[in-house]
Every structure is written in structure tokens, then in C-alpha cells.
Amino acid sequence: MATFEKVEILMVEDSAADAELTLRVLKKHHLGNSVFWVKDGADALDFAFCAGQYAGRQMENGPRLILLDIKLPKVDGIEVLRKIKGDDRTRMIPVVMLTSSQEGRDIRECYELGVNSYIVKPVEFDKFVETVTQVGLYWVVMNKTPV
């Protein structure tokens, strides 16, 4: 069984290009070493709840932040959010939606489910860098959580 080290950020992102861009930014700010990347919603839930292939993982080893896309294979981001915020073991973990969707109903639904932030990924790289930097620094470095 695989062992898992402490994870700061769980990145749920099905686009390899977006994942690479996000990782690059996080690494620049020395936040990239403890990022764990999963590509679909089912895998994200297994990781968060230490189930399936992550059964050997300990809940107390994080993540301290979840970056969550909405449109994901298998289980979509809103469903992942619902499960994480609906379970006492995980609902304290800050979840930041990092998505292309600017649809009002998505934003509303995420807030209703208790999302901590809702960020629309900018198309321009410079703005994207700035946004991911702010999200990483705020939630991982500045923010204090009980987790």
C-alpha cells in the first residue's frame, strides 16, 4: 500500500494544461512541493475521505486547501463540494472553486454549499498567475484554520 506524506493543497483539475500552469505558479511561491493532483471528482473524494487507493492515507495529513474545478469527469465539482462540506471530517477544509464558469447559478450553488471562495480562472496568463498566487498565499500562508 502506498504511503502519503502531508499534503498542503489538493488540486482537482482535469485539464493537464491548467494543472501545469497552476503548479508552475504555486512552485514559484514555494507552495508547489506538497500539491497533490487528481484528475476527476471520484478520485478527489477518495483522496479527501482516505478511501479507495488512498485508504492508507491519514485524514490529519491534510489537505489544508482544496482547489476544485466544476466541470470534472465522473463526479462534478459541485457534487464533490457537497460531499466535503456535508461531512464533519472534511467540512473544515477550505475549498476554493477555481473554474472557467461564470454562470450565476454555479456561483450561487457553491456558496449555498459552503464554498470558501469562488474564483473564475482568467484567460490571460498574467492575471491567472496573479490570481493563483493570491489564492495560494492567502489560503495556505496567511489563513489560519483549525485543521
Binding site: S15, A17, D18, L21, R24, I70, K71, T99, S100, S101, Q102, E103, K121, P122, V123, E124, F125, D126, F128
Partner: protein, 421 residues
Amino acid sequence: MNPQKKIRNNEVHILIAEDSATQAEQLKYLLEQHHYAVTTAANGRLALEAARQRKPTLIITDIVMPEMDGYMLCKAVKSDDNLKDVPVVMVTSLSGMQDIAKSLECGADNFIRKPYEPKILLARIDYILLNRELRRTRQLEVGMEVYLAGKKHFITSEREQIVDLLISTYDEAIHMNEELARRTAQLEATNKELESFSYSVSHDLRAPLRAIDGFSRMLEEDYQARLDEEGRRQIRVIRDNAHKMGQLIDDLLAFSRMGRKAMAVSPVDMAALAAEVFSELRQAGDHRSVRFDLRPMPACDGDPVLLRQVWANLLSNALKFSGRRETPLIEAGGQSEGRENVYYVTDNGAGFDMQYYDKLFGVFQRLHGGEEFPGTGVGLAIVQRAVARHGGRVWAEGKVDQGATFRFALPREAEDHDGDL
């Protein structure tokens, strides 16, 4: 079709009064296919002559015809002792209450709505022929006065006739209702489809753009030492175009939202709204040298969000296209004209060639090169859509290098016009 019916129909002679030769021919063809004997006449007078020569079983008449219209024909038939028992069917577009009143007045027996469907028309003829046997023609001694749509009408039709007419009208109304329900369902389905389409556009089209922009930037950063000036220029072209496409997607989505947004109508102080929008635009860009004249304009009833968008797009266009003048001049104002309020924005900018006027309000249509004046060509399409939602209209005048004036008219009593999309 059974042979008995064939024989029966053969004994039925139908006279059609219709001034459109094509429509008369179509109707004749349809009826002949069902083995009715058919004669056509191009107006009421000719139809009356034909009826007097050979008494028809049934007359189907259009209303608007030269020389003698359908009402006059009907009245003439009903006051002719030899013809008065011939049922007269009015072909109407059911567009106003006057149709019913006038038809009752002239003693018409039945309505058929235009454009008719063959099945319904044939069923109606069957109904009339069946009932004809049951009806005794008996002229009422006294008539009845009816007020309809502000006019007094004197009706001498028989009870049975009135009932037939009512049934036929009701029948048409039910049919139109069913049709309406079907179309509404269709429209709702289309709307839903459109919504999911724009949703996936907003989501799916943006993601590849970010990769194009991000990776060309990474290329620039990571391979800086190996790229010469031309290499860097080419990367810039890639990135500029990625941005442009991002803007196009955003504008297109804004345009589609404009049509879907629910209208919330309230009184709007248009002068205050225009002033507010202009000062926001002025602050956002470098427009200190612009002279803005805000003239008086009437308030209106409308959706403040949509109207703000109208002012924002017209005023930002005026700023953009007058930006190269030494003293850019922009003026906005309006006045009440009849049942409308007409507003305008005028500038002394680049103007446009009226030759291409029909492209002005089209989506993604531009009359200026992107190098000269940047833009995606959605702004005026949004203006038109927002104004149309209010039941209003937009138009413009311009001359190359001599500025442009855009006007929009809003009805003084606002309502939501969904169908104008």
C-alpha cells in the same frame, strides 16, 4: 374515402370568392380533390352574379376584395330571396372584434381562420353541410343591437346562425390555443438548449485559450535566451489573438444573456443614468479632453440594467470613435415624440459609411479595422437587442469622418418583448 361520400360531395357546389388567383386555385384544388364541384370568382360582384346564375350549396368568401368585399357579398346573398338559405363562410384572419361584429351584421354563417389547415377547413364544410339540413330558414322579425369595440351593430341573423358562428369562432380559438401551447413548449425547449449551449461555450472555449496564452508565455520565459526578436514577436501575435478570442467569447455570452435576462421594469431617470455611465467611462479611460453635453431628456419606464447597457455601449462607442479628434464632442439627449421617447447620442468622430448601414447592428459585424479602432462587433447588437426587449427600435446616421448619431426609441408604456429576439 368511401364511395357514398364521393357521390354526396359531387352534389355539393361550392362558390369561392377570392381576389388572389393563387389562393383561389389552391382552395379549388383542395376541394376538388375531395370531389366537391367548385367555381371561383375574383371579387364579390362576380361571385354574386355567379350565384344568381347557378345557386351554390355553399359560399366561401374572402373579406377584403376589390369592387365588392366579403361583407357586402354576404349581405347581398342574405337579402336575395332565392339565395338567402345558402350558407356563407367568411375567411378571416381573426385579427379584431370588428370581424365578428361585421360578419354577424351581414348575416354570415361561419368563420374560417386564414391561413387555414386543409383538415380543419374540410371538417368545417362537413359541419355546415350537415347542419344545413337541420336549419329552417326563417327571417327574424326583430333584430338585436350589439355594441362591439365602440360601434353599434344591428344584427338580424337567426339564432342558429349565431350559434354556428360562435361555435366556429370558438373552435378556431381552441385550435389556436393548442397551437400556441405547442409553440410555447417548443420555445422553452429551445431556450433550455440555448442556455446549456452558452454554458458550455463559457466553460469549454475558455480553457484551451488559457493554455494557448499560458504556454506561449512559458515559452517566452523559459526560452528567452534562445529566442530572437522575431521569435518573441510571433509569440506576441499568438497571445494577442488569444486575448481577442477571449473577448469575443465574453461579448458573445453577454449578448446571449441580454436576450435571456428577465425584465424588471421600473421608472428610470435616463438623464441621470446617462450622466452616471458617462462619468464611469471617463474615469476608466483617458478621456479628459472630451466635451460631453448632456441635454434634457425624458424619463422612461424600462429595465435599468438593460438601459444602462444601452447607454454604456453607445457612449463608449462615441468615446472610442471620437478619441482621435483634437476636441472630441459627445452629446446625449432626448424628447417625447408621440407614443415614444426618442433618445440620441451623437459624436464628431470617425463616423461610418451609410452604404454599410445594414451591417451596423449585426453580431460580429465591424465597419472599422481592429487596428484602427479595437472591438468585437457585439456592442451595437447588444444595444439593438436590449432596446427590442423594451418594444423599441434603434437607428443611426453617419458620414465618414464627420461623426455619427445613434437614436433609440422606447414606447412610453413599456412591456417585455421576448419575441423580438
